[in-house]
Amino acid sequence: MSTKNNSLVSSGDIWFPEPLSTLAKDIDYLYYVTMWGSVIIFLGMFLISIYFLLKYRRTKSNLVAQKQVIENHKLEIAWTVIPLILVMILFVWGFKDYLRLRIPPEDTLKINVTGAKWFWSFEYPKNNIKTLNQVYVPVNQSIEFKMISKDVLHNLFIPNLRIKRDVIPNSYSGLWFKAEKVGRYQIFCTEYCGDKHSEMLADLIVLSEEDYEEWLNSANESEDIPLEDLGKKLYTAKACNGCHSLDGSNMVGPTWKGLFGKIRNFTDGTSVKSDENYIRESIVYPQKKLVKGYQNVMPSYAGLLSDREIDGIIEYIKTLK
């Protein structure tokens, strides 16, 4: 699955990335109706203005206004009522499509989404699968996201589907879609959430029916691989690499290089030698002990990592000397 995302800029037309659903196409259609309507009215205003500017330009023979035309009630009524009718048509049209965006059909595949600084996690409740920054869905199937945030506001945006919704702490929000084409598509966070807001990205991977089944079967295979290798895999798969380096450089969080067995100094003045328990605690309750010079920004991974996965990460850190 190492293929790159479909480009937003080069796919689709001049304005939009390639639409991935019928609804997205309908929304684009309404946009073009609005845009071309606006262009026609704008050009009308522009040409009339240019005509006036040329015709009534101040010259020696036109030093004063030709005639003081000051009002015309019919015109005033016309340019109040006609725009009002036009925008009301747009309002009703937009409202109808909005209802289609908001109300999911009955038979959806439900996926729970959690946004946290600065990654997305996806949980398939029926299959007991969790993924990070990648969500796999079958093509032509209605998908429903139930979303919540662990910290500040986030927003999940899939440009190819023309959908987005705020992800809020302490309150669920919903989003549904039906992707009609296989491929790999971009997901953005579009509610400002801090230093790594622009790196809070994820991939929507739309698979054919068979490939999706195959993926479901393979997704739980992590049981078999050695702990060290599992930890190495999780380092990128669970987005640890967003904040922790392997080469000793300091990022948002402390580096993992040489972490095991090192004395850690905390903001409250205490210190401890880094061992298995300390690392486990830092993963599950990261806010409990803060290393000096770092902010309290790491979200808790409680529930996001199994015990075996935590063990894997600990074993992996041990190898980073």
């Binding site: 006036f52 009534y56 030709q66 015309n72 005033e76 309002f91 987005k164 953005f188």
Partner: protein, 531 residues
């Protein structure tokens, strides 16, 4: 005070102290102008640095945190220190009393107090830039703003204090319009700039307290840990957005209405025509002021507010677009059978006309529920509000500044360079922001330090526009300063304008008019008034 009658207000008193304790609305207006130009320069530099950072998705000048601080700084300065006070406090202070034939505003000392409060609030904002600059965006959304370690408190306290300056100026203008009009100046004989300032003042007085309360609640939550907006301690983050936009949407009209007022002045003077549809324009200002209180929820279609609320806010948003459209149609019609003089102020007027219209049409897109879902929080929104705020208000401000410059200082600037600068600003502006419509609809989210490589060419083109625009502003600065050293004095009405400010000397005497003017005509009656 008889000896002051013929002396212009610059020469009436001398020395630094005479400015610090002045109660002359004209001097206060000029001091505001200095601060506002300084704020615009600072906010503009911040924007320029942001755009340079965006030349590449990797680091150019700033870290991610610094970038976030820069866009917060840019937004907060431009909104609170520049655009809200820009036209009302600087040009409005100077010309409202002159246009209604008054000696001063109703409460001259309160007017000076507003200026001091503005400076005091601005100092708070500057302090918070020095001391752990805020990285929340100018919207201070919770719970991010209650959890960040940057100095949110001093920044919001600054905005809180600035709010009082805004409220006092608004109150002062309302009373001035009601009580200080010259004999014979009925409501419908007031220039339309006065109408627009009146509508703006109503908004300032009614809406600003809500912002003050909101920011105060934010400070209470942050310092005392009482759960109001932060869900971690039992608050509701969406409540903050309701409070914030209840002020900040009307505030958008606080920003644009005065510029619309300037448009009416420009379109009459430079066509030598009475305004087309005086009452339609005057009433539409008031209609905008009222309806603008009922549309705040269109910033929150995706926030989790109920779909019914979103639907109602969408419908009301379309309705508030109509009065603005009416104004635009009336300005265009004013040119009909006129005698049109394409001087620099009018070029800015035409720039406003076209750029503001683009902002309006794209606002229709954003008001449409289904379309907003895709465009929300992308560069499309950034482009839209810059077309309204910069294409509208800043063009209006520049138009007004060039229009009234000879009246304020008694000197004329170089028309040739003024036209060159206007063209550079217009072209540069469109390079920067039209590109951003495409970036946005292609999916580029706003407030992104880094971005996908595929967006780079569009970002680079947008950034190159800032240099064209910046050059334009530098030229404006040079020829305006240069004009002050010119020898030639200008006449009372260099453009042939006939509203009352053009019937006194340039610059005006301390009490504005040698004799109280008596009004017996419409403000733009070019057949009756000959200058």
């Amino acid at each position: 005070m008889g000896h002051l009658e013929n002396i212009n207000f610059f020469k009436a008193a001398k020395g630094f102290k005479s400015w610090l304790i002045t109660v002359d609305h004209k001097r206060i207006g000029i001091m505001y102008l200095l601060f506002i130009v300084a704020a615009f320069t600072l906010g503009g530099l911040a924007a320029g640095i942001m755009r340079i950072e965006l030349l590449s998705p990797d680091k150019v000048l700033l870290t991610a945190k610094q970038y976030n601080q820069f866009f917060t700084l840019h937004g907060a300065i431009m909104v609170f220190l520049f655009i809200i006070p820009s036209i009302p406090a600087a040009l409005g202070n100077f010309f409202l009393p002159l246009q209604i034939g008054a000696k001063d505003v109703a409460f001259p000392k309160l007017n000076l107090a507003s200026l001091y409060i503005y400076v005091f609030g601005a100092l708070f904002c500057v302090y918070s830039m020095w001391h752990g600059a805020v990285d929340t965006g100018w919207t201070f959304y919770t719970p991010y703003s209650t959890t960040t370690d940057t100095s949110v408190i001093s920044m919001t306290l600054g905005a809180f204090i600035l709010g009082f300056s805004s409220i006092l100026t608004g109150m002062n203008f309302i009373v001035t319009v009601h009580k200080m009009r010259a004999p014979g100046m009925t409501w419908f004989r007031m220039p339309l700039f006065v109408w627009s300032l009146y509508a703006t003042s109503i908004l300032q007085v009614l809406a600003t307290p809500v912002l003050a309360i909101t920011l105060l609640l934010l400070i209470v939550e942050k310092t005392m840990g009482i759960g109001i907006f932060d869900p971690a301690i039992g608050g509701d983050p969406v409540l903050f957005q309701h409070f914030f936009w209840f002020y900040s949407h009307p505030a958008v009209y606080i920003m644009i209405l005065p510029a619309m007022g300037i448009m009416s002045e420009l379109f009459t003077t430079f066509t030598k025509k009475n305004i087309f549809g005086y009452k339609a324009i005057a009433y539409s200002s008031i209609a905008i002021a009222l309806v603008s209180f009922l549309v705040w929820g269109h910033h929150m279609f995706l926030s989790g507010q109920s779909d019914l609320a979103s639907t109602i806010f969408s419908a009301l948003t379309f309705i508030v677009a109509i009065p603005s459209a009416i104004k635009v149609f009336n300005w265009i019609s004013t040119m009909y059978k006129g005698s049109i003089d394409l001087k620099t102020p009018f070029l800015y007027g035409l720039s406003f006309l076209f750029l503001f219209s683009v902002g309006g049409f794209t606002g229709i897109v954003l008001g449409t529920l289904s379309l907003d879902v895709h465009m929300h929080d992308t560069y499309y929104v950034v482009a839209h509000f810059h077309y309204v705020m910069m294409g509208g208000t800043v063009m209006g401000f520049l138009g007004g500044l060039h229009y009234w410059w000879p009246k304020m200082f008694g000197k004329m600037y170089n028309e040739f360079w003024a036209k060159i600068a206007c063209a550079l600003i217009f072209v540069g502006f469109n390079m920067v922001f039209f590109t951003q419509f495409i970036l946005g609809s292609k999916g580029m989210p706003r407030r992104y330090y880094s971005y996908l490589d595929q967006f780079q060419p569009l970002h680079q083109f947008s950034t190159s526009g800032t240099w064209v625009m910046g050059l334009g502003f530098i030229i404006v600065f040079i020829y305006l300063i240069n004009s002050l050293f010119r020898k030639e004095e200008v006449s009372n009405s260099p453009w042939g304008g006939i509203t009352l400010e053009w019937q006194t000397t340039s610059p005006p005497p301390v009490y504005n008019f040698i004799e109280t003017p008596i009004v017996d005509n419409d403000p733009y009656d070019f057949e009756k008034v000959k200058i």
